[in-house]
């Protein structure tokens, strides 16, 4: 039992949107071979923002809250050099938020399955 509702199973990307992201991911793998290592997290954050923008109109309320809240607050062009400690702290915060979202959807909480 995964606690999914009908809403949470909805398709959130159409094929064109998915292809755009696929193109980005494949070509970013190539460009990153020649680019500064610090661009790695920047590219991943950019594609996370793009994915978020695409899914938000069709996502469930919890997912929409996450992508318009914690994710939207992390700038997509920031690089670690701009202040490594703050950068890492922000990403850790984002990681906690995504873990919370996924746990709410899939994992049993202290009070049993959700």
């Amino acid at each position: 039992m995964d606690g999914s509702t009908e809403e949470s199973q909805a398709w959130v990307l159409d094929e064109n949107e998915a292809l755009e992201l696929l193109g980005y991911l494949i070509t970013a793998a190539r460009t990153q071979v020649d680019e500064a290592a610090e661009y790695g997290p920047l590219r991943l954050l950019t594609v996370a923002h793009r994915l978020a923008d695409r899914i938000v109109p069709r996502a469930s309320a919890g997912t929409a809250r996450f992508v318009t809240g914690p994710l939207a607050q992390v700038p997509e062009l920031a690089v670690p050099r701009d202040g490594r400690a703050e950068y890492v702290a922000r990403l850790d915060e984002l990681c906690r938020a995504v873990a919370g979202l996924l746990s709410d959807r899939w994992a049993a909480g202290p009070d049993g399955p959700r």
Binding site: G23, Y24, I26, A28, R43, T46, R81, D82
Partner: protein, 191 residues
């Protein structure tokens, strides 16, 4: 022998306007969807033609598109393209022509020429009220396919063009603001 063509130097208010354009140009990463008029694109391309090139060889070629479908594919294979441009000028190097002149493939002049062309395009667009942003983070192989480039024509840099829109991603932070003094060393040293 001066080598000049006798053109009048830029003076007075014109000179100030050029310097003001240099200082106020910023990369634009948020653009409105409406097209950039063809005469405006042509004026930008005409400016690019006047950029200095190594040995005055003009080994760069400009491949231009304002086709929404082509632009959509270009963006999908260009991770560094944050904006949705209304047009794009792809600065290419004619490697075959360069080899014919005896330039080895990694000759610095070829890349410097991409830079002079790009800087000129960015400034010309700014002077015409059009936003512009350079992109080098793209798959050269993929862009060659999208544009149907012939063998030997290498896409080096994409300049996105469009009417500037408010908003968009926050600009990349460059640390503290640099002055020309931070970037300059006099020889012999000045006090």
């Amino acid at each position: 022998m001066g080598g000049g063509t006798g053109r009048a130097p830029v003076t007075g208010d014109d000179g100030e306007a050029v310097l003001a354009a240099i200082r106020t140009r910023r990369v634009v990463r948020s653009m409105r969807p409406e097209p950039v008029d063809r005469p405006v694109l042509e004026a930008v391309l005409d400016a690019a033609r006047w950029a200095p090139t190594a040995g005055n060889r003009h080994l760069q070629r400009f491949v231009v598109t304002d086709d929404p479908g082509v632009l959509r594919v270009l963006r999908a294979v260009s991770p560094g393209m944050l904006q949705h441009p209304a047009a794009a000028i792809v600065v290419c190097t004619d490697r075959a022509l360069a080899a014919g002149y005896g330039f080895p493939p990694g000759a610095p002049g070829l890349f410097v020429d991409v830079g002079t062309a790009t800087a000129t395009i960015l400034l010309a667009a700014h002077a015409l009220g059009i936003g512009a942003g350079p992109v080098t983070s793209f798959s050269h192989a993929a862009v060659s396919v999208v544009l149907g480039l012939p063998e030997g024509l290498e896409p080096e840099l994409i300049v996105c063009l469009g009417h500037p829109a408010p908003g968009g991603p926050a600009p990349m932070r460059g640390g503290r603001r640099l002055s020309w003094r931070d970037l300059t060393t006099w020889v012999p040293p000045q006090d």
